[in-house]
Each structure stands twice: as structure tokens, then as C-alpha cells.
Amino acid sequence: MNVLLRAVSAEMLKMKRTLALWMVFIAPMVVVVLSFLQIYMQGAPKKLQASADEAWLRLAMGITTLWAFLMLPLYITLETALLGGLEHVEKQWKQLFALPVPRWTIYTAKLLICTALIAASTIVLWAGTVAAGLVLQHLVPGWGNSGIPPWWAMLQMALLTWLASWLIIALQTWISLRWRSFALAVGIGMSGTVVGFIVMQSEQWGKFYPWALPMTTMAGEGKNMPFAVAYGIVGGIILGIIGCWEMTRRDVL
């Protein structure tokens, strides 16, 4: 356990001054700001909300949908590719794997860091949503989200998309660590996301599609949410172990 903590702390230092670290704030804030501007431009809806809480959740729903549907899979793709790229630019593997540290700790640390960064972004998304809502109360009072936000329900919504994204994280992390090519990792992640727009519409198969799992937690009033979260977590752990096993026994040339 100690070796794993050491590897995680080494990973954290490596991220200093990288775009990958900035992306933790940029990715969710882009979604929050875009959604906010959209509401601000359109003004208050004609039909008033039933309650303040429902208005808050409507805001959170809008932001989280854009996040889960589009930004999250693309952001995971970019983030893992950036972190993988750190180790490919100067063939770091030959140096890392020659250290007296088990290979699995280095892979696992990378995977944990990626998952943690996505979690941090999820928190930023939630905090940004709350902030956007508070500003909205003043600028567009007609939106109706007065008072204290139902923060737990909002956080829950965001965290469920994170849990469901573990499978994408494990998959993209493996691809970006396994192959040198930045274009390959980004290509797969982008195609995966775009193809997901279509696959998601399939009642039968949509819920199995990795890149659409975060969205599946919200689609259809969340009827597939428990499945998407369980599938995301279990699939992510299994794929994480397979990826780690594969990297551990590879020849490092």
C-alpha cells in the first residue's frame, strides 16, 4: 500500500504546470458558463416552476446533461491522453519500469489519478452549478430558484455520472498508456463519443455502450441509472485490472 501511495504522490508532482491539471477546472466550467449564458439570453421560462427546488434541479439537469452527454467522455479522452503522453514523449517507461517499484503500482497510480481528476471536475461542475444558480437568482429572477439549493440532490446527480464513467476512464487510460500515439487515444475517444449519440437511441443496446454510460444515468428519468452505475463501476474495475496486468507483463522496448 505504501508503494502505491508513493507512486500516487510521484504522479501528482508530474502534473505540475500541465494542461491536464488546468482541464480539471476548464472542462466543467465551460459547460457551466455555456449553460448559464443560454439561460441568461433566453430569459425566464414562460411557465413558472412549481417550486424553488425544482427550479434548482432543472438548472442542474440542464448542466449535467450537457456534461454527461458530450463534455465528460471527451474530457476523459483528452485528460487520459495528456497524462499518457507525459510518459511517452521521452519513453519514460524504460526508466520507470527499471526502478525497484512494482510495475502495477505505476499503472494503478495513473488510473487512480485519472479517476480522481474526473471526480474533482465533477465537484467543480457541481460547485459551478450552485454558483451559476445564485447569480441567476439576481439576473433572471423568473427562473424561480430562490433560497438554498438542494445541494445533495444536485451533487448526487453529478456524482452518478462520475461513477458510471469509470469504464470509460479505465478504457481510455489503458489505450493512452499502452500506445504511444496521442492521435489514436483521442481518435478512439472522440469516435466513441460521437457514435454514442446514435447507439444511445437504441432501447436495447444503448445502455451497454461505454461512452454513453454517464448519459444513461439521466436518460429516461434515470430508469437505467442503477444498471449504468453498476456496469460502469464493475466494468471499470475489471478493465483496470486487465489493463494493469497487460502492462505489467509487456516487454518495454
Binding site: 508532482l13 508530474k14 525497484p100 517499484v101 516487454d251 518495454v252
Partner: protein
């Protein structure tokens, strides 16, 4: 491998004075045999120069020693412990620098050391220690992106020494450096055994790179070990060359080849590889007996570089012939 071989391997290495010992290492990449039946032995405290042309299997051997790739056959022992059974903990005593060092350009020199320090779990004071050894204290807080090639190489060496290794494995550490950088690197490496008690295993494709620092030399070509021993032993293998000028070079060439001499020739002279002055007179008399006039005969010593080229060149010829 039979059990007998294993036992023999274990018993011969009972002493505690070998840093590296490999036993019949073989590794194939598809149809290519990168390393073939390679047995080397590196004594503790020496600087071992591992010499061979590009593509001769040096890097493959080094990667096997570091556990980066597996061998198809054979065994590796580092400080008398098998790499297979000792696993990663053995590498505690090993520091490595393979070709160009792998550095994080966006981090400073000090931060690069800190990344490795966290993984190795050694004390913070070691960072200053290794920075002092490679004389990078002044530039330690600059991003590595702006480092010169020589500074990068020195930082690579500092990284390799961070865990106070008893064995340093350096693959072509002077590759791509300018003469001043090469000189500095050589100086650093030469001091390692005396000042830090380390054993150094050093690879190069140029004899001139290591003949001034190595105490022992292993020569590899085509994945096979051709020579292993001290520099003196290599010197003792020196051959001499008999330089001849004759009036009928073609005829002379034919006669000498028939008699089994190895000959290099150009338009004006013949060079025959021989070992002793006796052999020179033997060559001379056989030519004279055949009615060829010898106008010039002199002996020329082969340089170490030529011995090296001869050794490595010969196997290539042998392989071509075998095919």
C-alpha cells in the same frame, strides 16, 4: 535447461564478488536472434565496458538485465541473486541510464529528481547529493526543457545515482554529446567506483569511448560474446600486420591465400595478418621461393580499435559464409 547446468551455475557464483552474471541468455524477436547464448560476468567494483556495433544486442542485453524484457532462455544474477526470483527488490541496488534519459521537460531538474525520489522512498538529502556529483546545482531550478544535451545526460546520471546504487548500468551514456560533454561524462563515470564504491556496466559502440575508463571489456557482435576480459588481455590478443610490396601482387595474393593467411590488400600493398616476426619471415620466404620479388616488408601493430573491428567484422563474415 537441465538441472545440472543450473546447479553448476549456482555453485560457481558462490562468492560475493560478482555484480552481474548471466548464464546462456538468449532472446529472439520473431526470426531475429538479438542475443544468443550470452554469458557475461562483471566483477564488483570494476568498470565493465560492453562493446559492440549498433544492433549487436547490447541494448537487448541491458533491458534483460533491468527486467524490462524477458529472455527466452538463460538466467541473470545480480549480486548473486537470480533476477527471476528476487524480482524488483534486487533493482534496489541498481541505477540505470538507458540511451537518452527520460526526463519530464515541464518540470525542473530538481522536480525530476523528486519524482524518482518519491518512487524510491529515499531521503530528500540525496537530491542535493546527486546534484553536487553531476554539478547541476545552479541549473536545478530551471525547467529541463531548456537544458542542453550534456546537462540532460548529467541529470540522467544523477537520476540513476539517486538510490545510492551499488551497480550502475549505463547504455551509451555519451551518445550525442559534444567533445566537452563526453569528457565530462567520462570523468564522472571514472570517479564512481573510487568515490562511491559502485560497479559500472557501460555500453558503447565505440572502443575509443571506453578504452580510457573501462577496466574490463566484453565484446559482443551478432548477439554473441566474442571476448571478455581485462584491457590488458585484449591488448595481448593484438596481432601484427605484415605489410608487403611485391612485383606480382595478384600472384602473391593467390599464393598467400592458398597458404591460409588472412589478407587485406589495395593496389600498391598487401597486408597480411600475422602474430610474430617468425611468421613474417615465413611469409617472405614462401613468396621468394615462388619467384616473387619482395621490395618492402614491414610490421605494423594493430590498434585496439582495429582488434575490435577485426573481432566484430569477422563474425559478420562468418555468418555470411554460413548462409
Amino acid at each position: 535447461m537441465s538441472q545440472n547446468n543450473l546447479d553448476a551455475f549456482d555453485s560457481t557464483s558462490a562468492g560475493n564478488d560478482t555484480a552481474i552474471k548471466t548464464h546462456h541468455l538468449t532472446r529472439h524477436f520473431g526470426k531475429l536472434t538479438a542475443v544468443k547464448d550470452l554469458s557475461i560476468e562483471v566483477a564488483r567494483g570494476c568498470i565493465y565496458g560492453f562493446l559492440g556495433p549498433n544492433g549487436s544486442g547490447k541494448t537487448t542485453t541491458i533491458r534483460i538485465l533491468l527486467g524490462l524484457i524477458r529472455s527466452d532462455e538463460g538466467q541473470v544474477k545480480i549480486f548473486d541473486k537470480s533476477l527471476a526470483s528476487g524480482g524488483k527488490s534486487l533493482l534496489n541496488k541498481v541505477g540505470s541510464l538507458i540511451e537518452a534519459p527520460s526526463l519530464y521537460g515541464h518540470l525542473t531538474g530538481r522536480e525530476n529528481l523528486e519524482v524518482t525520489r518519491r518512487l524510491l522512498a529515499v531521503g530528500r538529502e540525496h537530491i542535493d547529493r546527486v546534484l553536487a556529483i553531476v554539478r547541476l546545482e545552479k541549473d536545478a531550478n530551471r525547467p529541463v526543457r531548456g537544458y542542453s544535451l550534456g546537462m540532460r545526460q548529467r541529470l540522467g546520471l544523477a537520476l540513476a545515482m539517486l538510490g545510492e546504487p551499488e551497480l550502475l548500468i549505463l547504455d551509451e551514456p555519451t551518445n550525442g554529446l559534444d567533445p566537452a560533454g563526453i569528457h565530462e561524462m567520462r570523468d564522472l563515470i571514472r570517479r564512481l567506483p573510487e568515490e562511491h564504491g559502485a560497479t559500472v556496466f557501460l555500453s558503447s559502440h565505440l572502443l575509443s569511448e571506453i578504452e580510457h575508463i573501462a577496466t574490463h571489456i566484453g565484446i559482443i557482435s551478432g548477439g554473441q560474446l566474442l571476448f571478455q576480459g581485462t584491457l590488458d588481455q585484449l591488448q595481448a590478443q593484438r596481432r601484427e600486420r605484415v605489410i608487403l610490396k611485391v612485383n606480382q601482387p595478384d600472384e602473391a595474393l593467390k599464393i598467400l591465400t592458398e597458404n591460409g593467411w588472412r589478407i587485406e590488400h589495395d593496389d600498391s600493398r598487401l597486408a597480411v595478418l600475422a602474430n610474430t616476426p617468425d611468421e613474417a619471415s615465413e611469409i617472405n620466404s614462401s613468396l621468394v621461393r615462388s619467384g616473387i620479388d619482395v621490395s618492402h616488408l614491414s610490421l605494423e601493430r594493430l590498434s585496439l580499435e582495429e582488434i575490435f573491428l577485426n573481432l566484430t567484422g569477422r563474425t559478420e563474415n562468418a555468418e555470411v559464409n554460413a548462409k
